[in-house]
Protein backbone atom coordinates (compact mmCIF):
# COMPACT_ATOMS: atom_id res chain seq x y z
CA UNK A 1 0.00 0.00 0.00
CA UNK A 2 1.41 3.32 -1.08
CA UNK A 3 -0.03 6.23 0.88
CA UNK A 4 -0.08 9.76 -0.44
CA UNK A 5 -0.94 12.83 1.56
CA UNK A 6 -3.11 15.82 0.87
CA UNK A 7 -1.83 18.34 3.39
CA UNK A 8 -4.17 21.08 4.65
CA UNK A 9 -2.54 24.00 6.45
CA UNK A 10 -5.14 25.26 8.94
CA UNK A 11 -5.25 29.05 9.06
CA UNK A 12 -5.37 30.99 12.31
CA UNK A 13 -5.78 34.65 13.12
CA UNK A 14 -5.44 35.85 16.71
CA UNK A 15 -5.50 32.24 17.90
CA UNK A 16 -8.87 31.59 16.24
CA UNK A 17 -9.36 29.07 13.45
CA UNK A 18 -10.21 30.88 10.20
CA UNK A 19 -13.36 29.52 8.43
CA UNK A 20 -11.30 29.13 5.22
CA UNK A 21 -9.90 25.97 6.87
CA UNK A 22 -13.25 24.18 6.37
CA UNK A 23 -13.14 25.10 2.70
CA UNK A 24 -9.61 23.72 2.43
CA UNK A 25 -10.81 20.42 3.90
CA UNK A 26 -13.77 20.35 1.49
CA UNK A 27 -11.35 20.92 -1.40
CA UNK A 28 -9.03 18.17 -0.11
CA UNK A 29 -12.01 15.77 -0.09
CA UNK A 30 -12.78 16.64 -3.72
CA UNK A 31 -9.17 15.91 -4.69
CA UNK A 32 -9.28 12.61 -2.81
CA UNK A 33 -12.54 11.65 -4.54
CA UNK A 34 -10.93 12.14 -7.94
CA UNK A 35 -8.06 9.82 -7.10
CA UNK A 36 -10.39 7.25 -5.50
CA UNK A 37 -12.42 7.32 -8.70
CA UNK A 38 -9.32 6.92 -10.82
CA UNK A 39 -8.14 4.01 -8.67
CA UNK A 40 -11.52 2.33 -9.18
CA UNK A 41 -11.36 2.92 -12.95
CA UNK A 42 -8.06 1.21 -13.46
CA UNK A 43 -8.33 -1.17 -10.48
CA UNK A 44 -5.31 0.51 -9.07
CA UNK A 45 -5.91 0.11 -5.37
CA UNK A 46 -2.38 0.39 -4.13
CA UNK A 47 -2.44 4.18 -3.76
CA UNK A 48 -4.45 5.61 -0.91
CA UNK A 49 -4.80 9.34 -0.48
CA UNK A 50 -5.12 10.54 3.09
CA UNK A 51 -5.99 14.01 4.28
CA UNK A 52 -3.85 15.53 6.99
CA UNK A 53 -4.80 18.84 8.59
CA UNK A 54 -1.91 20.53 10.37
CA UNK A 55 -2.55 23.09 13.10
CA UNK A 56 0.58 25.04 13.91
CA UNK A 57 0.81 26.15 17.52
CA UNK A 58 3.19 28.44 19.29
CA UNK A 59 3.76 30.52 16.19
CA UNK A 60 2.11 33.65 14.94
CA UNK A 61 1.20 32.76 11.37
CA UNK A 62 1.32 36.45 10.47
CA UNK A 63 5.10 36.23 10.87
CA UNK A 64 5.40 34.87 7.36
CA UNK A 65 9.17 34.60 6.93
CA UNK A 66 9.40 32.65 10.18
CA UNK A 67 6.38 30.56 9.23
CA UNK A 68 7.92 29.66 5.87
CA UNK A 69 11.21 28.60 7.46
CA UNK A 70 9.25 26.54 9.99
CA UNK A 71 6.98 24.89 7.42
CA UNK A 72 9.72 23.98 4.98
CA UNK A 73 11.37 21.03 6.82
CA UNK A 74 7.96 19.71 7.95
CA UNK A 75 6.73 19.59 4.37
CA UNK A 76 9.96 17.93 3.27
CA UNK A 77 9.38 15.25 5.85
CA UNK A 78 5.71 14.62 5.05
CA UNK A 79 6.37 14.86 1.30
CA UNK A 80 2.70 15.36 0.42
CA UNK A 81 1.21 15.22 -3.07
CA UNK A 82 -0.84 18.34 -2.46
CA UNK A 83 -0.56 21.26 -0.06
CA UNK A 84 -3.65 23.41 0.44
CA UNK A 85 -3.65 26.94 1.83
CA UNK A 86 -6.17 29.76 1.72
CA UNK A 87 -5.87 32.44 -0.96
CA UNK A 88 -6.02 34.93 1.88
CA UNK A 89 -3.64 37.69 2.90
CA UNK A 90 -1.75 35.05 4.91
CA UNK A 91 -1.74 32.52 2.07
CA UNK A 92 -0.58 35.11 -0.46
CA UNK A 93 2.25 36.14 1.87
CA UNK A 94 3.48 32.59 2.40
CA UNK A 95 2.52 30.18 -0.40
CA UNK A 96 4.38 31.36 -3.51
CA UNK A 97 7.70 31.90 -1.75
CA UNK A 98 7.36 28.56 0.00
CA UNK A 99 6.68 26.85 -3.34
CA UNK A 100 9.97 28.18 -4.75
CA UNK A 101 11.80 27.02 -1.64
CA UNK A 102 10.32 23.52 -1.93
CA UNK A 103 10.74 23.52 -5.70
CA UNK A 104 7.13 22.54 -6.27
CA UNK A 105 4.29 23.61 -8.54
CA UNK A 106 2.16 26.46 -7.33
CA UNK A 107 -1.34 27.30 -8.55
CA UNK A 108 -3.06 30.17 -6.78
CA UNK A 109 -6.66 31.29 -6.34
CA UNK A 110 -8.36 27.99 -7.22
CA UNK A 111 -12.16 28.00 -7.36
CA UNK A 112 -12.88 24.47 -8.62
CA UNK A 113 -11.31 21.01 -8.86
CA UNK A 114 -12.22 19.19 -12.06
CA UNK A 115 -12.09 15.49 -12.86
CA UNK A 116 -11.05 14.93 -16.42
CA UNK A 117 -10.80 11.86 -18.61
CA UNK A 118 -7.14 11.72 -19.59
CA UNK A 119 -7.92 11.03 -23.25
CA UNK A 120 -9.65 14.40 -23.51
CA UNK A 121 -6.60 16.34 -22.64
CA UNK A 122 -3.86 14.05 -23.76
CA UNK A 123 -2.67 16.20 -26.64
CA UNK A 124 0.77 17.43 -27.49
CA UNK A 125 0.21 20.57 -25.44
CA UNK A 126 -2.21 19.08 -22.96
CA UNK A 127 -1.81 17.72 -19.52
CA UNK A 128 -1.83 13.98 -18.95
CA UNK A 129 -3.29 14.04 -15.50
CA UNK A 130 -6.87 13.36 -14.45
CA UNK A 131 -7.09 16.38 -12.25
CA UNK A 132 -7.51 19.93 -13.46
CA UNK A 133 -7.78 23.20 -11.58
CA UNK A 134 -10.02 26.14 -12.34
CA UNK A 135 -8.87 29.65 -11.47
CA UNK A 136 -10.47 33.00 -11.99
CA UNK A 137 -8.89 35.47 -14.45
CA UNK A 138 -9.75 38.84 -16.04
CA UNK A 139 -11.66 40.22 -13.04
CA UNK A 140 -13.71 37.04 -12.73
CA UNK A 141 -15.00 37.17 -16.31
CA UNK A 142 -13.41 33.81 -17.17
CA UNK A 143 -12.04 30.73 -15.49
CA UNK A 144 -8.87 29.22 -16.90
CA UNK A 145 -8.67 25.48 -16.52
CA UNK A 146 -5.09 24.44 -15.93
CA UNK A 147 -3.27 21.19 -15.34
CA UNK A 148 0.26 20.11 -14.58
CA UNK A 149 2.31 17.69 -16.62
CA UNK A 150 3.73 15.76 -13.77
CA UNK A 151 1.86 14.74 -10.65
CA UNK A 152 5.03 13.42 -9.04
CA UNK A 153 6.02 16.95 -8.06
CA UNK A 154 4.23 18.46 -5.05
CA UNK A 155 1.39 20.82 -6.03
CA UNK A 156 0.72 23.75 -3.73
CA UNK A 157 -2.75 25.22 -4.19
CA UNK A 158 -4.25 28.34 -2.66
CA UNK A 159 -8.04 28.28 -2.50
CA UNK A 160 -10.34 31.21 -3.25
CA UNK A 161 -12.67 31.72 -0.31
CA UNK A 162 -16.34 30.97 -0.94
CA UNK A 163 -15.56 28.25 -3.50
CA UNK A 164 -15.82 25.00 -1.52
CA UNK A 165 -18.36 23.88 1.06
CA UNK A 166 -18.41 21.06 3.56
CA UNK A 167 -21.49 19.13 2.47
CA UNK A 168 -23.29 16.34 4.30
CA UNK A 169 -21.70 13.76 2.06
CA UNK A 170 -18.34 14.86 3.42
CA UNK A 171 -19.18 13.31 6.79
CA UNK A 172 -18.26 9.87 5.52
CA UNK A 173 -14.76 11.18 5.07
CA UNK A 174 -14.42 12.23 8.71
CA UNK A 175 -12.55 9.07 9.61
CA UNK A 176 -9.89 9.58 6.98
CA UNK A 177 -9.10 13.14 8.02
CA UNK A 178 -6.41 13.33 10.65
CA UNK A 179 -5.77 16.47 12.64
CA UNK A 180 -2.28 17.09 13.91
CA UNK A 181 -0.90 19.81 16.13
CA UNK A 182 2.58 20.98 15.48
CA UNK A 183 4.62 23.11 17.88
CA UNK A 184 7.25 25.60 16.92
CA UNK A 185 10.80 24.58 17.47
CA UNK A 186 13.76 26.84 16.91
CA UNK A 187 14.33 27.51 13.27
CA UNK A 188 17.77 28.41 12.10
CA UNK A 189 17.34 30.73 9.17
CA UNK A 190 19.16 34.03 8.76
CA UNK A 191 16.30 35.64 6.82
CA UNK A 192 14.18 35.73 10.00
CA UNK A 193 16.53 38.23 11.66
CA UNK A 194 15.96 40.71 8.81
CA UNK A 195 12.30 41.25 9.52
CA UNK A 196 10.47 42.46 12.61
CA UNK A 197 6.74 41.84 12.78
CA UNK A 198 4.89 44.45 14.81
CA UNK A 199 1.39 45.19 16.02
CA UNK A 200 -1.91 44.48 14.38
CA UNK A 201 -3.92 47.64 13.79
CA UNK A 202 -7.70 47.55 13.50
CA UNK A 203 -8.91 50.37 11.31
CA UNK A 204 -12.57 51.28 11.79
CA UNK A 205 -14.04 49.82 8.62
CA UNK A 206 -16.63 47.50 10.09
CA UNK A 207 -19.00 50.40 10.00
CA UNK A 208 -22.59 50.12 11.11
CA UNK A 209 -24.04 52.18 8.26
CA UNK A 210 -23.56 49.51 5.60
CA UNK A 211 -24.37 46.66 7.96
CA UNK A 212 -27.63 48.27 9.03
CA UNK A 213 -28.80 49.24 5.55
CA UNK A 214 -31.74 47.31 4.09
CA UNK A 215 -30.83 48.40 0.59
CA UNK A 216 -27.31 49.04 -0.69
CA UNK A 217 -26.71 50.77 -3.99
CA UNK A 218 -23.09 50.05 -4.88
CA UNK A 219 -21.08 51.45 -7.76
CA UNK A 220 -17.87 50.52 -9.53
CA UNK A 221 -15.58 51.95 -12.18
CA UNK A 222 -18.30 51.47 -14.77
CA UNK A 223 -19.94 54.71 -13.65
CA UNK A 224 -17.10 56.52 -15.43
CA UNK A 225 -16.62 59.72 -13.42
CA UNK A 226 -16.46 60.76 -9.80
CA UNK A 227 -19.27 63.27 -10.42
CA UNK A 228 -21.60 60.42 -11.39
CA UNK A 229 -21.77 59.29 -7.78
CA UNK A 230 -24.61 61.85 -7.62
CA UNK A 231 -26.64 59.46 -9.81
CA UNK A 232 -25.96 56.63 -7.36
CA UNK A 233 -27.07 58.83 -4.45
CA UNK A 234 -30.28 59.68 -6.29
CA UNK A 235 -30.86 56.01 -7.01
CA UNK A 236 -30.31 55.18 -3.32
CA UNK A 237 -32.78 57.93 -2.34
CA UNK A 238 -35.53 55.90 -4.10
CA UNK A 239 -35.35 53.36 -1.26
CA UNK A 240 -35.91 53.66 2.45
CA UNK A 241 -33.10 52.51 4.73
CA UNK A 242 -30.57 52.67 1.93
CA UNK A 243 -26.85 53.33 1.79
CA UNK A 244 -24.32 54.03 -0.95
CA UNK A 245 -21.28 51.77 -1.29
CA UNK A 246 -18.42 51.25 -3.74
CA UNK A 247 -16.07 48.58 -5.05
CA UNK A 248 -12.40 48.67 -4.16
CA UNK A 249 -10.98 50.43 -7.26
CA UNK A 250 -13.39 53.29 -6.68
CA UNK A 251 -12.33 53.67 -3.03
CA UNK A 252 -8.66 53.48 -4.10
CA UNK A 253 -9.23 56.37 -6.50
CA UNK A 254 -10.69 58.37 -3.63
CA UNK A 255 -14.20 58.64 -5.09
CA UNK A 256 -15.82 57.34 -1.90
CA UNK A 257 -14.49 57.06 1.68
CA UNK A 258 -12.89 53.81 2.86
CA UNK A 259 -15.83 53.00 5.18
CA UNK A 260 -18.07 52.59 2.15
CA UNK A 261 -16.05 49.79 0.57
CA UNK A 262 -17.76 46.43 0.07
CA UNK A 263 -15.45 43.47 -0.44
CA UNK A 264 -13.09 41.11 1.28
CA UNK A 265 -10.86 43.95 2.47
CA UNK A 266 -13.81 46.16 3.39
CA UNK A 267 -17.32 45.45 4.65
CA UNK A 268 -19.06 42.08 4.25
CA UNK A 269 -22.77 42.87 3.79
CA UNK A 270 -26.02 40.96 3.27
CA UNK A 271 -28.86 43.49 2.79
CA UNK A 272 -32.41 42.77 1.55
CA UNK A 273 -31.45 44.29 -1.80
CA UNK A 274 -28.00 44.81 -3.29
CA UNK A 275 -27.99 46.90 -6.43
CA UNK A 276 -24.63 46.73 -8.21
CA UNK A 277 -24.10 49.48 -10.76
CA UNK A 278 -21.08 49.38 -13.08
CA UNK A 279 -19.34 46.72 -11.00
CA UNK A 280 -17.49 44.01 -12.96
CA UNK A 281 -17.65 41.49 -10.11
CA UNK A 282 -14.11 40.53 -9.09
CA UNK A 283 -13.88 37.74 -6.53
CA UNK A 284 -12.75 40.28 -3.94
CA UNK A 285 -16.02 42.20 -4.37
CA UNK A 286 -18.25 39.10 -4.64
CA UNK A 287 -16.92 37.84 -1.30
CA UNK A 288 -18.33 40.99 0.31
CA UNK A 289 -21.90 40.84 -1.06
CA UNK A 290 -22.77 37.34 -2.31
CA UNK A 291 -25.02 36.60 0.69
CA UNK A 292 -27.35 39.54 -0.03
CA UNK A 293 -31.01 38.41 -0.17
CA UNK A 294 -31.71 39.84 -3.62
CA UNK A 295 -29.10 41.05 -6.09
CA UNK A 296 -29.76 43.27 -9.10
CA UNK A 297 -26.89 44.25 -11.41
CA UNK A 298 -26.57 46.86 -14.12
CA UNK A 299 -23.58 46.62 -16.47
CA UNK A 300 -23.06 47.30 -20.15
CA UNK A 301 -20.88 44.20 -20.60
CA UNK A 302 -23.26 41.21 -20.97
CA UNK A 303 -20.44 38.89 -19.84
CA UNK A 304 -19.54 40.81 -16.68
CA UNK A 305 -18.86 38.37 -13.84
CA UNK A 306 -21.34 40.14 -11.55
CA UNK A 307 -24.23 38.70 -13.60
CA UNK A 308 -23.28 35.18 -12.42
CA UNK A 309 -24.18 36.27 -8.91
CA UNK A 310 -27.33 38.26 -9.73
CA UNK A 311 -31.03 37.52 -9.48
CA UNK A 312 -31.79 40.19 -12.05
CA UNK A 313 -29.36 41.15 -14.83
CA UNK A 314 -29.72 44.42 -16.70
CA UNK A 315 -27.42 44.99 -19.66
CA UNK A 316 -27.49 48.76 -20.04
CA UNK A 317 -25.43 51.90 -19.75
CA UNK A 318 -25.49 52.58 -16.01
CA UNK A 319 -26.34 56.26 -16.08
CA UNK A 320 -29.10 56.10 -18.69
CA UNK A 321 -30.67 53.24 -16.78
CA UNK A 322 -30.61 55.13 -13.48
CA UNK A 323 -32.19 58.17 -15.12
CA UNK A 324 -34.92 56.00 -16.59
CA UNK A 325 -35.49 54.16 -13.31
CA UNK A 326 -35.85 57.38 -11.30
CA UNK A 327 -38.19 58.76 -13.97
CA UNK A 328 -40.32 55.58 -13.99
CA UNK A 329 -40.56 55.61 -10.21
CA UNK A 330 -41.91 59.16 -10.25
CA UNK A 331 -44.33 58.36 -13.07
Amino acid sequence: MNNKTILVIAEYLDGKLNPITDELIACAIEIKKIFDLKAKDISEVNVLYEIKVIHFKGINSLESEKYKSFLFPIIREINPSFILMGHTSQGIDIASGLAVRIGCNCITNINKIIYSQPENIDGSEGSKSNILFSRSVFKGKFNTIVGVENLETIILLTIQSGSFYIKDCCKEYNNIISNEECYLSNVDDSIISLIEYGDIVYSCTTNSKLNEAKVIVACGRGIGDKENIEYIKKMAACFTGSAVAGSRPLIDMGWLPYEQQVGITGAIVSPELYLAVGISGSSQHIAGMKDSKFIVSVNKDPNAAIFNFSDISIVEDCLSFIEEFIYSKQA
Binding site: L13, S89, Q90, I92, D93, S96, G97, V100, C106, I107, T108, I121, G126, S134, S136, F138, K139, G140, K141, F142, N143, T144, I145, V146, N150, T153, I191, L194, E196, Y197, G198, I200, V201, S203, T205, T206, C238, F239, D252, G254, T265, I268, L273, K290, F294, N303, N308, S310, D311, I312, S313, I314, V315, D317, S320, F321, E324, F325, S328, K329
Partner: protein, 285 residues
Protein backbone atom coordinates in the same frame (compact mmCIF):
# COMPACT_ATOMS: atom_id res chain seq x y z
CA UNK B 1 19.20 54.02 -2.78
CA UNK B 2 18.61 51.73 -5.75
CA UNK B 3 15.02 50.80 -6.47
CA UNK B 4 13.68 48.37 -9.08
CA UNK B 5 10.02 48.17 -10.08
CA UNK B 6 8.67 45.09 -11.89
CA UNK B 7 5.76 45.98 -14.14
CA UNK B 8 3.46 44.00 -16.41
CA UNK B 9 1.71 45.27 -19.50
CA UNK B 10 -1.95 44.30 -19.77
CA UNK B 11 -4.51 44.69 -22.53
CA UNK B 12 -7.31 47.16 -21.93
CA UNK B 13 -9.36 46.23 -24.97
CA UNK B 14 -12.37 43.92 -24.81
CA UNK B 15 -11.53 40.30 -24.08
CA UNK B 16 -13.43 37.33 -25.52
CA UNK B 17 -13.00 33.60 -25.78
CA UNK B 18 -11.10 32.60 -28.91
CA UNK B 19 -12.52 30.14 -31.44
CA UNK B 20 -11.01 27.01 -29.92
CA UNK B 21 -11.93 28.06 -26.37
CA UNK B 22 -8.31 27.49 -25.41
CA UNK B 23 -7.47 31.10 -24.77
CA UNK B 24 -8.83 34.62 -25.20
CA UNK B 25 -8.68 37.20 -27.95
CA UNK B 26 -8.34 40.91 -27.49
CA UNK B 27 -10.55 43.43 -29.21
CA UNK B 28 -9.48 44.75 -32.62
CA UNK B 29 -8.16 48.00 -31.17
CA UNK B 30 -5.28 46.67 -29.13
CA UNK B 31 -4.65 49.11 -26.36
CA UNK B 32 -2.34 48.51 -23.45
CA UNK B 33 -1.67 49.81 -19.99
CA UNK B 34 0.54 49.12 -17.01
CA UNK B 35 -1.29 46.75 -14.68
CA UNK B 36 -2.93 48.94 -12.03
CA UNK B 37 -1.10 47.58 -8.97
CA UNK B 38 2.26 47.81 -10.76
CA UNK B 39 1.48 51.44 -11.55
CA UNK B 40 0.95 52.02 -7.81
CA UNK B 41 4.32 50.33 -7.16
CA UNK B 42 5.99 52.61 -9.71
CA UNK B 43 4.40 55.73 -8.21
CA UNK B 44 5.57 54.68 -4.75
CA UNK B 45 9.12 54.23 -6.06
CA UNK B 46 9.08 57.69 -7.61
CA UNK B 47 7.74 59.20 -4.38
CA UNK B 48 10.68 57.55 -2.58
CA UNK B 49 13.09 58.94 -5.17
CA UNK B 50 11.71 62.44 -4.66
CA UNK B 51 11.91 62.07 -0.89
CA UNK B 52 15.43 60.58 -0.85
CA UNK B 53 17.06 62.41 -3.73
CA UNK B 54 20.00 63.17 -1.45
CA UNK B 55 20.78 59.44 -1.31
CA UNK B 56 21.31 59.31 -5.08
CA UNK B 57 18.11 57.37 -5.35
CA UNK B 58 17.46 55.83 -8.74
CA UNK B 59 14.45 53.96 -10.04
CA UNK B 60 14.75 51.27 -12.72
CA UNK B 61 11.78 49.55 -14.28
CA UNK B 62 11.78 46.00 -15.67
CA UNK B 63 9.16 44.19 -17.70
CA UNK B 64 9.05 40.68 -19.16
CA UNK B 65 6.78 40.57 -22.17
CA UNK B 66 6.25 40.91 -25.90
CA UNK B 67 7.53 43.78 -28.09
CA UNK B 68 4.59 46.00 -27.12
CA UNK B 69 5.70 46.01 -23.46
CA UNK B 70 8.31 48.62 -24.47
CA UNK B 71 5.46 51.12 -24.63
CA UNK B 72 4.66 50.54 -20.95
CA UNK B 73 8.33 50.76 -19.97
CA UNK B 74 8.51 54.14 -21.77
CA UNK B 75 5.45 55.26 -19.86
CA UNK B 76 7.17 54.24 -16.63
CA UNK B 77 10.19 56.32 -17.63
CA UNK B 78 7.79 59.14 -18.44
CA UNK B 79 6.51 58.92 -14.88
CA UNK B 80 10.07 59.38 -13.65
CA UNK B 81 11.96 56.07 -13.79
CA UNK B 82 15.63 56.41 -14.77
CA UNK B 83 16.27 53.20 -16.70
CA UNK B 84 14.08 50.68 -18.51
CA UNK B 85 14.88 46.99 -18.90
CA UNK B 86 12.87 44.85 -21.32
CA UNK B 87 13.11 41.07 -21.37
CA UNK B 88 11.46 40.18 -24.67
CA UNK B 89 9.34 37.06 -24.87
CA UNK B 90 7.28 35.61 -27.67
CA UNK B 91 4.74 33.89 -25.43
CA UNK B 92 1.09 33.98 -26.35
CA UNK B 93 -1.43 33.21 -23.68
CA UNK B 94 -0.99 32.10 -20.12
CA UNK B 95 2.38 32.32 -18.46
CA UNK B 96 2.65 30.91 -14.96
CA UNK B 97 3.91 33.11 -12.15
CA UNK B 98 6.80 30.76 -11.50
CA UNK B 99 8.15 31.16 -15.04
CA UNK B 100 7.88 34.96 -15.00
CA UNK B 101 9.49 35.08 -11.55
CA UNK B 102 12.36 32.90 -12.73
CA UNK B 103 12.93 35.16 -15.74
CA UNK B 104 12.89 38.34 -13.65
CA UNK B 105 15.15 36.89 -10.96
CA UNK B 106 17.63 35.50 -13.52
CA UNK B 107 17.90 38.97 -15.05
CA UNK B 108 18.26 40.77 -11.70
CA UNK B 109 21.11 38.44 -10.68
CA UNK B 110 23.12 39.57 -13.71
CA UNK B 111 22.66 43.29 -13.12
CA UNK B 112 25.40 45.34 -11.60
CA UNK B 113 24.88 49.02 -10.94
CA UNK B 114 27.48 51.71 -10.76
CA UNK B 115 25.84 55.02 -10.02
CA UNK B 116 22.92 55.34 -12.32
CA UNK B 117 24.26 53.01 -14.99
CA UNK B 118 23.24 49.41 -15.47
CA UNK B 119 25.70 46.75 -16.60
CA UNK B 120 24.97 43.11 -17.31
CA UNK B 121 27.50 40.66 -15.94
CA UNK B 122 28.25 37.26 -17.39
CA UNK B 123 28.01 35.45 -14.11
CA UNK B 124 25.47 35.86 -11.35
CA UNK B 125 26.07 38.73 -8.96
CA UNK B 126 26.38 37.55 -5.40
CA UNK B 127 24.48 40.38 -3.76
CA UNK B 128 21.12 41.82 -4.69
CA UNK B 129 21.96 44.89 -6.83
CA UNK B 130 18.91 46.75 -5.54
CA UNK B 131 18.01 47.98 -2.06
CA UNK B 132 14.31 47.81 -2.72
CA UNK B 133 12.27 45.90 -5.28
CA UNK B 134 8.62 46.86 -5.71
CA UNK B 135 5.86 45.27 -7.73
CA UNK B 136 2.07 45.05 -7.69
CA UNK B 137 0.35 42.56 -5.39
CA UNK B 138 -0.94 40.78 -8.52
CA UNK B 139 -1.51 41.44 -12.20
CA UNK B 140 -4.93 42.73 -13.18
CA UNK B 141 -5.43 40.02 -15.81
CA UNK B 142 -4.09 36.70 -14.48
CA UNK B 143 -4.37 37.60 -10.78
CA UNK B 144 -1.84 35.00 -9.59
CA UNK B 145 -0.17 37.10 -6.86
CA UNK B 146 2.96 34.97 -7.29
CA UNK B 147 5.71 36.88 -9.05
CA UNK B 148 6.75 39.20 -6.20
CA UNK B 149 7.16 36.58 -3.45
CA UNK B 150 8.81 34.16 -5.90
CA UNK B 151 11.39 36.71 -7.10
CA UNK B 152 12.22 37.50 -3.46
CA UNK B 153 12.70 33.80 -2.73
CA UNK B 154 15.00 33.35 -5.75
CA UNK B 155 17.08 36.31 -4.58
CA UNK B 156 17.03 35.23 -0.93
CA UNK B 157 15.62 38.52 0.35
CA UNK B 158 12.62 39.09 2.65
CA UNK B 159 9.23 39.76 1.09
CA UNK B 160 6.15 41.58 2.36
CA UNK B 161 2.93 41.39 0.32
CA UNK B 162 -0.09 43.70 0.16
CA UNK B 163 1.73 46.81 1.40
CA UNK B 164 -0.59 49.80 1.88
CA UNK B 165 1.87 52.21 3.48
CA UNK B 166 5.61 52.83 3.43
CA UNK B 167 6.76 54.95 6.31
CA UNK B 168 9.16 57.55 5.02
CA UNK B 169 10.01 59.40 8.17
CA UNK B 170 10.15 57.30 11.31
CA UNK B 171 13.63 56.54 12.62
CA UNK B 172 15.11 55.93 9.22
CA UNK B 173 18.42 54.28 9.60
CA UNK B 174 20.63 55.99 7.04
CA UNK B 175 24.22 54.84 6.71
CA UNK B 176 26.61 54.78 3.77
CA UNK B 177 24.17 56.70 1.62
CA UNK B 178 21.60 53.97 1.96
CA UNK B 179 18.64 53.26 4.14
CA UNK B 180 19.15 50.29 6.41
CA UNK B 181 15.59 49.53 7.43
CA UNK B 182 12.09 50.64 6.51
CA UNK B 183 8.74 50.43 8.20
CA UNK B 184 5.68 49.33 6.26
CA UNK B 185 2.06 48.45 6.86
CA UNK B 186 0.44 45.48 5.11
CA UNK B 187 -3.25 44.90 4.68
CA UNK B 188 -5.16 41.86 5.91
CA UNK B 189 -8.86 41.11 5.51
CA UNK B 190 -11.62 43.15 7.13
CA UNK B 191 -9.68 46.35 7.71
CA UNK B 192 -6.89 44.79 9.77
CA UNK B 193 -3.34 45.98 9.16
CA UNK B 194 0.03 44.73 10.32
CA UNK B 195 3.08 46.89 11.06
CA UNK B 196 6.38 45.43 9.89
CA UNK B 197 9.98 46.64 9.91
CA UNK B 198 12.33 45.12 7.38
CA UNK B 199 16.03 45.41 6.64
CA UNK B 200 16.96 46.21 3.07
CA UNK B 201 17.32 44.73 0.54
CA UNK B 202 13.71 43.62 0.53
CA UNK B 203 10.85 43.11 -1.89
CA UNK B 204 7.42 44.65 -1.32
CA UNK B 205 4.25 43.90 -3.27
CA UNK B 206 2.03 46.96 -3.40
CA UNK B 207 -1.72 47.01 -2.86
CA UNK B 208 -3.87 49.57 -4.70
CA UNK B 209 -4.96 52.65 -2.77
CA UNK B 210 -1.45 53.38 -1.45
CA UNK B 211 -1.21 56.40 -3.80
CA UNK B 212 -2.66 57.97 -6.93
CA UNK B 213 -0.29 57.28 -9.85
CA UNK B 214 0.77 60.43 -11.70
CA UNK B 215 0.53 61.07 -15.41
CA UNK B 216 3.85 61.11 -17.27
CA UNK B 217 5.21 64.64 -17.51
CA UNK B 218 6.19 66.18 -20.85
CA UNK B 219 9.78 66.74 -19.76
CA UNK B 220 10.10 63.15 -18.57
CA UNK B 221 8.58 61.83 -21.80
CA UNK B 222 11.12 63.82 -23.84
CA UNK B 223 13.92 62.53 -21.63
CA UNK B 224 12.59 58.95 -21.86
CA UNK B 225 12.38 59.16 -25.66
CA UNK B 226 16.07 60.06 -25.82
CA UNK B 227 17.03 57.17 -23.61
CA UNK B 228 17.21 53.64 -24.91
CA UNK B 229 15.53 50.76 -23.19
CA UNK B 230 17.95 47.95 -22.40
CA UNK B 231 16.55 44.93 -24.21
CA UNK B 232 17.37 41.28 -23.72
CA UNK B 233 16.12 38.07 -25.22
CA UNK B 234 15.39 34.95 -23.25
CA UNK B 235 18.47 32.80 -23.76
CA UNK B 236 18.35 30.61 -20.71
CA UNK B 237 16.72 27.33 -21.75
CA UNK B 238 15.21 26.85 -18.31
CA UNK B 239 13.16 30.00 -18.76
CA UNK B 240 11.73 28.96 -22.11
CA UNK B 241 7.97 28.66 -22.11
CA UNK B 242 8.13 24.94 -22.92
CA UNK B 243 9.43 24.54 -19.39
CA UNK B 244 6.27 26.02 -17.91
CA UNK B 245 4.94 23.26 -15.64
CA UNK B 246 1.45 24.71 -15.91
CA UNK B 247 -0.59 23.95 -19.01
CA UNK B 248 -3.80 25.74 -19.88
CA UNK B 249 -6.42 23.27 -21.10
CA UNK B 250 -9.24 25.70 -21.82
CA UNK B 251 -10.94 28.91 -20.80
CA UNK B 252 -14.59 29.06 -19.86
CA UNK B 253 -17.26 31.34 -18.46
CA UNK B 254 -17.85 30.76 -14.75
CA UNK B 255 -21.06 28.97 -13.83
CA UNK B 256 -24.05 31.01 -12.71
CA UNK B 257 -24.64 30.99 -8.97
CA UNK B 258 -28.03 32.73 -9.28
CA UNK B 259 -30.76 32.82 -11.92
CA UNK B 260 -29.69 36.15 -13.36
CA UNK B 261 -32.97 36.84 -15.13
CA UNK B 262 -32.18 39.13 -18.06
CA UNK B 263 -34.61 42.01 -18.55
CA UNK B 264 -35.45 42.72 -22.19
CA UNK B 265 -36.74 45.64 -24.24
CA UNK B 266 -35.86 49.30 -24.24
CA UNK B 267 -34.14 51.04 -21.34
CA UNK B 268 -37.58 52.26 -20.31
CA UNK B 269 -39.08 48.74 -20.43
CA UNK B 270 -36.27 47.44 -18.25
CA UNK B 271 -36.65 50.27 -15.74
CA UNK B 272 -40.42 49.65 -15.51
CA UNK B 273 -39.96 45.91 -15.10
CA UNK B 274 -37.36 46.35 -12.37
CA UNK B 275 -39.66 48.79 -10.58
CA UNK B 276 -42.47 46.21 -10.66
CA UNK B 277 -40.24 43.35 -9.49
CA UNK B 278 -38.94 45.40 -6.57
CA UNK B 279 -42.47 46.51 -5.66
CA UNK B 280 -43.72 42.93 -5.69
CA UNK B 281 -40.92 41.96 -3.35
CA UNK B 282 -41.72 44.88 -1.06
CA UNK B 283 -38.35 46.48 -1.64
CA UNK B 284 -39.77 49.60 -3.24
CA UNK B 285 -42.78 51.58 -2.08
Amino acid sequence: MKILVCIKQISTSEINLNGSGKWVTQGSSSSFAISRFDENALEEAILLKERFGMLNTSVDVISVGSQTAAESIKRGMGMGADNGIHVITEDKGYVSGSLTALRVATMIKKISKSGNTIKMEESDYSLCPYDLILTGIMSEDLMQAQVGPMVAEHLGIPCITSVVKINFDDNLNVSDNRIDKIEVQRELEGGIRQNIKVKLPALLTIQAGINQPRYPSLSNILRANKKEILTYNIVDAQSSSSFDPLKVIRVEYPEKKRAGKILNGTTKDKAMELKNILKQRGLLI
